[in-house]
Symmetry: C2
Subunit: 339 residues, 2 copies
Amino acid sequence: MKPKITLKKIAKQFEVSISTVSKALKDSHEIGTELKIKIKKFAAEHHYKPNSLAVRLQNQQTKTIGVVIPNIVHHFFSTVIQGIEEVTNQRGYNVMICLSNESFDKEVLNVEMLAHGSVDGMIVSLAKETQKKNDYNHFNDLLEDDFPLVMFDRINDKFACDKVIIDDVSGSINATNHLIEIGCKKIALITTPKHITVGTLRRRGYVKAIQDHGQEVDIDLIVEVDERESIKKQIEELFDTETFDGIFAVNEVYAITAMNIAREKGFKVPEDISVIGFTDGPLSKLALPPLTTVVQHGYSMGKKTAELLLNRIESKEEFKPQKVVLSTNLKIRKSTKSL
Amino acid sequence: MKPKITLKKIAKQFEVSISTVSKALKDSHEIGTELKIKIKKFAAEHHYKPNSLAVRLQNQQTKTIGVVIPNIVHHFFSTVIQGIEEVTNQRGYNVMICLSNESFDKEVLNVEMLAHGSVDGMIVSLAKETQKKNDYNHFNDLLEDDFPLVMFDRINDKFACDKVIIDDVSGSINATNHLIEIGCKKIALITTPKHITVGTLRRRGYVKAIQDHGQEVDIDLIVEVDERESIKKQIEELFDTETFDGIFAVNEVYAITAMNIAREKGFKVPEDISVIGFTDGPLSKLALPPLTTVVQHGYSMGKKTAELLLNRIESKEEFKPQKVVLSTNLKIRKSTKSL
DNA sequence: TTTTTTCACGAAAACGTTTGAGTAGATTTT
DNA sequence: AAAATCTACTCAAACGTTTTCGTGAAAAAA
């Protein structure tokens, strides 16, 4: 690459001082019109761009925020990123994205790297491994220094930082209630192992809805899918051992896999079995039949998260951490019977 | 946030010079053991982290690369990002992601912002609007200054920069050939308008395969989907006006929409109509039947793109732009008849 | 004892920018 | 003619770091 042109080089060219050049390019009234024109012309011809590192060092801010997420090849997370990007860009910040790939070690590395001063603030959604390990020491220094930090979706309540989550419990209650309302008598739950926060919360909603209707929760109707093994096999087992007329799955993939198995086994969806998923993505719309889902507004979540962070960064007032709970809504498609 | 601790503050604390502190923290032999220990302890207690802006200003590099892509809520692009992130992270760089949202104006803004010195190099995949407008002036300065730039997938051949693309033509030839081999006599093509490069290339492959088999291309069997209107309607029209026994669609969504329409119209896939899509994503695997697709290796593409960029940034040799063409392969699932 | 070496640290330039204060010289005001 | 103002600049500090080149004192070698 060609050596970058600096104020110093322009100054030498015209045998003036650096400050003269700086002011000329800023169109300061302190500089003579003729000289200003000459300098500006020269700068433009040589594609002069102020070195942003130097500018930011002066201003004592990077105008960049960091985002650490477990995965980007994921409809929900990429939607959140889009929301974050929208807000930050609009307010003059850039986004640096780091992927933990659900790994604890990589999350620690990323958080530390970002904390080492490359960003003005940080947005984090925890890796599965971190949640399982329950080790959050990599956030200690940040919290002690009051470093601007916002967590979303995969959060931990013990942190004194801003948080944005969706109302998983209510969403699940609504979904389960809907299944009950359309006449389902036995509703299966396909969820994650207990260490995944969202899985646990969605399960809680499911349990609550059933108990609120005076029914008992049947443990055998609950599958905890271990993603290290075949998802399909684990769900097939449910079909082989139990009978039911409703399924609530905590994500799209489980829901659609279940629908596909149901078909293979000769059940009709929604006539024999109604299915509801959580998280509305491209899969749901194009599934056959299109899947009824609990819509999680990733884009709004990203926007809200970014807003909290930027407000935090820019405010001088004393910090009072808040937790924002975003509500979901049920998008009824064709995988559930109509009333 | 608490005021950041600096070398200067530590120096004042111990009444030594800044350089002493800097060296002590680097465990230099020049500094006495006792003092080193005291300084390190104090620094650790106060969470001292070198200000990365200052360090990078010294080193004259940001150790960050920029990526401008049209969309992140998209399986292919997010996979590429993952590949990019993998390589750059491993080599000590960070990734700054900018979204053009397929908009020309936003692409220009992003490219200029990144060029203004926040990154050591840039990776770009062009916005649809840019390709349609055919206006690439925002890259002029970069190219003139030999700024490290790599383009992938949505590229323009007239740029003298590194490029990474997949072999769309061969992929499409393979897909079409496969349809012909399993006995399809009339093959429909569902593609994009002509200004989308990949659509045009895939169409070229389709045409070539058909002509190579001594057949004529039937223009009426080709649909150019305009995404501003209903995708489903436009494909339904094809079903209403033509008959065929094979479909080659240039992406997953078109392919699955076509499969769904076929079902609705009473055709069986693959018995009556075989369908092949391009780009292997989560939709294909979970579709019913699972979709046969041309697999585009997004992850490898991201890795290759990042490697080219970093090599370019770090090399001192004269630059010779290269174009890397990645091949695809056909993943045969259940949406095509077997031989 | 004199010279050399080692030790432990400081001074200062450099990276590229911004900005308030300072200053000659010319022009205007009183 | 003296004082005030204006014009068009320059100086220098500051942001936080790294690194080369001193340097005075103590220790070791001659």
